[in-house]
């Protein structure tokens, strides 16, 4: 029992440590690349870009630490892996014919009518990655998991920042 408990504890803690390891690696890599290639752009832009990179790295390493089992991490990994494709799909969606547009609108309306808290569920869908295609049950489940992961992510990032600043 005790050994099992230890193993379980190690496994449950491993998401956090995995995330931390990945995130630190990506930070290191960024540092090296930054040291090599800084020059042409202005300081503000570089800051913005690297902030964005760090943010994306944090989300990506969290999603990878969770693995492909959860829907939100899967969709996040998919988005990160091929952003071009996603953009292409979205631009295609903008060019849909009128019939399809009408169909989509009615479907959205139907969803709004049928779901229990309409606007709130939709805003939750926008927040949770991959939530567009979920029904309300799985959306809530994924939201719970996503909140936990975000929480650990914030904690780890906070501790790293504290350590660095010290």
């Amino acid at each position: 029992m005790t050994s099992k408990h230890v193993i379980a504890a190690a496994r449950t803690s491993s998401i956090k440590t995995r995330f931390a390891r990945r995130f630190l690696r990506s930070l290191l890599k960024m540092k090296r690349s930054n040291r090599l290639g800084t020059g042409s752009q202005s300081n503000e832009e570089i800051k913005k870009r690297s902030t964005h990179i760090i943010k994306t790295a944090a989300y990506a390493s969290m999603a990878r630490a969770v693995g492909p089992r959860r829907t939100w991490s899967r969709s996040l990994l998919f988005k990160l892996r091929n952003p071009r494709r996603i953009q292409g799909v979205s631009s295609k969606r903008c060019l849909v014919t009128k019939e399809n547009k009408n169909k989509r609108i009615t479907r959205n309306k139907m969803q709004i009518i049928s779901r229990e808290p309409p606007s709130r569920a939709d805003s939750l869908r926008k927040l949770v990655p991959g939530g567009d295609s979920m029904d309300i049950c799985s959306l809530l489940e994924e939201t719970a998991h996503y909140i936990k992961c975000l929480d650990t992510q914030v904690k780890v990032m906070q501790s790293i920042a504290d350590y660095y600043s010290n």
Partner: protein, 272 residues
Amino acid sequence: MDPPLVSETSFSAANPSSYTLTEIWPFPPSSSTALGLRMGNLADRDGSIEESTVTEQSGGNGNGTRKTRDLSSEEDYSSKIVSTTTSANDLNDSNGKRRKISGSRSENNNSRAEIEASSGANNKPAEQSSKPLEPPKQDYIHVRARRGQATDSHSLAERARREKISERMKILQDLVPGCNKVIGKAIVLDEIINYIQSLQRQVEFLSMKLEAVNSSTNSSPMIEGLHLKDLGAQPLDATGMVFGPQQTREYVQGSQSEWLHMQVGGSFERAT
């Protein structure tokens, strides 16, 4: 009043005195009344419980029974039904005895109704046991089933779905701080959305901070060693709740390939 009685006795041929009486009395009117009575009796015996109109007709034919019929018809419904059956059997009895018999019959009816109700109550738990749900919900199902609505599969599925949603909402309420006291799904959802947004803003802010720190410090070799120790020592209760053992076990298999992928080059660099 008298002729039906006399004619009735006249049909039972064992009595010699009644036989003489029939000779004395004129034949056609008495026979007609007697036949009407007989038919009424037969009708009562055939369709006694179901049709009260038949018994009313027989009462119209037999003059002697009409008064008692009216008396019995003034009683409530169940006793009326029973009294028609009993009155068909014994016409010459007193009213009190009839009431008594009808009372006992109505008691029988009540007990039968009770038996039916209990059998119905026995049927409902059987339906419930066929559906493997939580026992405390059975009262609710029982009420719904009494109305005759909940036995179809749609409402059962809908109820299960609602339970699922409320269960997850409870989990979320436990996760989000300051959400336990809030009543109402809409407000809870608002709180959840706000919390997620604040967390995402925190991530943004922390990445800004890390960027500033990361570009300024030159001590790269320090990073590796300390953090794994440092982070490993931290309390890990936040992640430990949702993740089941199966899930993490499955992840361990897939983690190494992803780790390799990470070392080859993280996709976040490709993303930007």
